[in-house]
Symmetry: D2
């Protein structure tokens, strides 16, 4: 999964890469009914139609409209209909209104994809400069991020339907099962190098490789399992305010939280909702769909703590990762020398650097080839709809 | 339009009536794309899929499940998925969550209609008692109400899409144009009889024919037009607190109201959104999509008032009506001797008799055959998405 | 209590009346600590400081500033600080912010009263025209309304303090106990005259005496008691949706309502909070502090209904009233020929005529001399902090 | 100001320290009217009455009730009335309801202080163990924190009163004016020691002295002034989304922010509200009452950034500080080896370590003797009612 793309993509290999990533999105769509493309039950969750149009919009807005002379827009309304948060680009649909739009139809959105793909593939016939090729690669990584969001958002939307619809009967995200190693890896402290280095793709928030000083620490080899968390529940973890941040305790009580998201107790037995329907909870699977507050409370209950993102990155070559986005104790903040890019692309990361927590690793829903040890994901501490889990440190 | 159904329907004529009403719903669906069946932008507006399933649910829940032995439900989940507000029947989907459900699919909902229709048509082969036949007729009138809601809800949903989608290019609700009669009808006061009398269908809220004493009054022959209301706007009607109820004034200011719903001013000219798209406003058409607050403020500005529902009913045989639901000054309250029916059907009307205003007449979106002079419609005073207008009294 | 003021007040008798009413306000203040003048726990409830300043403001704003040449305002800021809702007069403190103002101090507000009283008493030396004398009388009736609000608001504020402070140890609103007459008065129907007639003071909303037609009806001689309502509670009245308006049912569930306001159950026994502290509930006292929703649900549970305000007014000379503001089933609407007065005084009543219910009678907290059989009080249907009760009709 | 208390306090010196700190609170109260003790206009702001009772509660709850045998509570209700957020101690008044309580009176609260002071002074006659003496010192530092809150909260409450009341005519928080040094201090990077060391008082969140690695950096000698910020405003800083965090931009637009808190523009000139009333803004004073969002946007506009708390602590001995709480870019997080104390005292700091930003330094409102270079203050990023300012780094 961690295989990175060739360092220098030729136009030809870029074309192949483009086709591969774009095709993967469409493969994810195959099991959907047209109705599934529309609803947006909460603001965080975008409709599939919006996800697949917005990723296309990126290529039209950031590349074709800028670098292809006489480019004819597919539809001038799409520019604001499918903008996400780029103030620089102009007006846009309010985020929580994405599910209110029945038109354009799904068919039209696929025609839009086809139209933009044709233009992009023709675009690769030109002799593209490095900064343009880099922008294409950014667009493809952006699309991969939305592929994961496609699955996580869809899971949420199906989960709140009382009839628990199935995305795909035989759909199973491949879980690399830990070899039941419950040990801790000891890491010696000292000055460590943090941040991206090398030639492949990376986001701007990974840049600015820099030194940090770490104390000696230990980090667990494997992720916390469902069984571990059931023990926490049964020990009254959700009722003991001493384990929780003040805001976490409010969150628990205001939302009547008493289990991870998607867990259902029926006749004394735990089930969880998955993209292939409601199934008995597998106790040895890595815990999933928890908030930062729950991760912290669990760690506190264990008498341990969450790792910092620096500790995680320093030790990640020693443990198996990639199953869950792992909550760290680190605030999402710029690395030293972080520079915001000019224009709309500059809105990609920097402006979100407050009130969010860094997650490291990748999840079973992350697209192939879209993960690195220096990758920094981030969410607000109360959110649970991503495939989030935790690893302990001490 | 006011033609009432035959007083005593035979099983055979009931079957024909059933087929006719049910077919009309499906005719309304013809121009829709599947995507259009899903969104619910505000709580008041139900998705088309819900409207067409819920009307079917009525026949399954209130008739087939009760009176057909060994009746096999189409799908046991539909009982709560498509319940609207009948506490007696049991749990139901929260009203504002109807747009979050992509499944069952539209195709499945039409199969549900087909299944229930087949069972109902077979049901008519039996020798039905009067109370059962009456329940069928209630179900058909209920469906006609949802046919009007289908159009008004759909209009709202399309209207908030920035690309203003068209329901049907050549769709025009036939407007009976007033012959520019601006006169007032003088009605002599005295004791009047109010409420339904006769044999045809009626709702329980029209019953309890009773006497009221009315003073002499005058009521306008024709409805207020768009042009009349433009004068109100241009005279600063929306900025003059003296014209408004206190709650109306708050409503205006909190929602930045400065025109009827669906009006758009472009380059100094008024347009309005319709089911056939955005068109120039016709100044001589009856005003539409106003709240009770706007109706009252307009009347006050004219130095007149809204009629009471008693005045309206007393005079309605003297003027042409049926174009707009006409706001009256009357609170929606039970007539003397109003009795709530037993069971779920008893939840039809009585429990809404607080904080709502009576509207009389019918609108251009009302289904054929679904109007009477004694009909009592009702909405909260701030609502505008129905085809509402006004007539003055003094 | 129902004694009306002399029909034609001379300047001298007006002076006496003024002094009497103003003194009564100050008498109500005697038991207060300075701290009690400040808090406003909910928007409906005004701080005592505001109540006593606002009633003074009325005389300064509506009389002294208009009719006394060279009148020197006490403090120019008070004009907007103590305006309630008169848009005509200009800007004002937001209603829910009244409790945020520590200054002016209570001492300053009493100086303000003294200053305005001195000017008013001097004003009575002039030869006042009838419309000015009427305005003084309006101001005094306005002050009497705020005297009742003073008590009801203060009761609410003290009630939410966990230490249940006492306004006055020996304070007891005198309850005229019904002679346990549980009978019903039969009233013959026909055309009845409704509305104020005569010479004494009245509000504009009572005017426009007019005919209504009533059917024969029966109305109970006495008010519903606490014991009656305990039976309703014990019979599951708060859990039975069939008894409630749809909005009432929502109100019950969203606010976890399971008893009248100020009732507390301790060790299986009912207590209620009063202005003299927390006491055991007297079962034979008239029920108090209920919403319109509760009144309606109770009536429905009894198989009866609330009287209309017309029925109430027609029968009121046959029963003892004045203990509770009695919920009627009538919407608060203008009588025929209701005219809004010009200027700020015109904002007194008309603009509130939507979404409110008429209450008839008076309560034990109503000021002496401030009640009439034609008096129309009004509140929103969910409100309970006034001394509200109910009488049944059938 | 930075003078720390003697390392080892004897009982006698502790008694003197206790009397000094407690007296300072009462000195702050002198200019108040009784009315000023009550209002709580927003949840963040506590009424003065609450502040002075709560600090007393700390000594009664944490010391007298635990360590004085047969201690008689002053009033058993105060235990929950004046608890702030200590879940361990039990129930408490909801934080946003503190302003709704008129009783106990201010006089009673001062009697409570006197009662507890007497008991505490007697307590010092005993031979106290170190952990008890430390708890007393913690209580006094806690009281000093509430002394600053007393002033900042009061300032807010007076500021929203349209008549701008004055706390004290001649009240001026002494501003150490910078000598107009606009230079930057260069600091060489490397491994630095961070956190409290030594013997004096400190909070638990400063402990765990540890190493961090810092790059070379520069930090400004003086604080940003009002004039600097006026330039930002005049350059359109509040309208340029590129300068803001996404959440900051939402905050600006939802709250119509266009200047620091307490600034008022009259006839083109800036004034600001202070505890001695509304005065012309002094352009050379350090900027005050800004949010983290504003601090960040300003720094971005200057092409620089905020310092981290590590940079600040490393360089603080080279610049003059103590005028403003200075926003840093650091998330409020536990230092390595941070341990939560057992019991209620353990709720002091740790449970707030999410979604807050560290502020360093002290402000002109900080009590004498209550500041250190290792002190870590913290607030949510949108808050402005504290005396907050900023210093740049690059």
């Amino acid at each position: 999964m961690q295989a990175s793309k060739p360092k220098e993509l030729t136009n030809e290999s870029l074309r192949g890469y483009y086709k591969e990533v774009r095709a993967y999105t469409e493969k994810l769509c195959e099991p959907l009914k047209i109705e599934d493309y529309i609803p947006q039950p909460i603001e965080d969750v975008s409709p599939p139609k919006w996800n697949i149009a917005h990723t296309t919009w990126f290529f039209e807005e950031m590349l074709l409209k800028k670098y292809v002379s006489n480019y004819q827009e597919f539809n001038p309304n799409y520019s604001f209909l499918f903008n996400s948060y780029y103030n620089t680009v102009g007006e846009r649909t309010l985020r929580h209104k994405r599910g209110d739009l029945s038109r354009p139809t799904v068919k039209e959105v696929f025609e839009y994809r086809k139209y933009v793909d044709d233009k992009m593939l023709a675009f690769f016939d030109q002799d593209l400069q490095k900064d343009i090729r880099d922008l294409v690669i950014l667009g493809l990584n952006h699309e991969q991020q939305h592929q994961e969001l496609f699955l996580t958002d869809l899971k949420y939307t199906l989960s709140i339907n009382p009839i628990f619809p199935v995305y795909k009967e035989d759909f199973a995200l491949v879980e690399k099962i830990n070899d039941a190693q419950e040990g801790f890896i000891e890491v010696e402290g000292g000055i460590k190098q943090i941040g991206f280095t090398g030639e492949g793709f990376h986001f701007d928030n990974e840049l600015g490789r820099h030194k940090v000083y770490l104390k000696d620490f230990e980090i667990s080899e494997s992720l916390i399992t469902n069984l571990d968390f059931i023990e926490f529940i049964e020990d009254g973890g959700y009722e003991n305010h001493n384990l929780w941040h003040s805001e976490g305790w409010d969150w628990v009580n205001q939302n009547n939280i008493n289990s991870p998201l998607y867990w259902h107790k029926k006749d004394g037995e735990w089930f969880n909702f998955t993209l292939s329907g409601l199934h008995k909870l597998n106790p040895s699977s890595p815990l999933c769909h928890i908030s930062f507050y729950e991760a912290s409370a669990f760690a506190d209950w264990k008498g341990m703590r969450l790792p910092t993102e620096y500790e995680w990155e320093t030790a990640a070559d020693k443990f198996e990762w990639g199953l869950r986005w792992e909550w760290t104790s680190s605030d999402y903040a710029p690395y030293p020398n972080f520079k915001t890019a000019d224009g709309a692309v500059g809105e990609y990361n920097g402006k979100f650097m407050v009130n969010q927590r860094v997650l490291r690793g990748a999840s079973v829903a992350t697209s192939p080839g879209h993960s690195r040890m220096t990758y920094r994901n981030f969410f607000h501490p109360h959110l649970r709809w991503q495939f989030t889990g935790l690893r302990l440190a001490k």
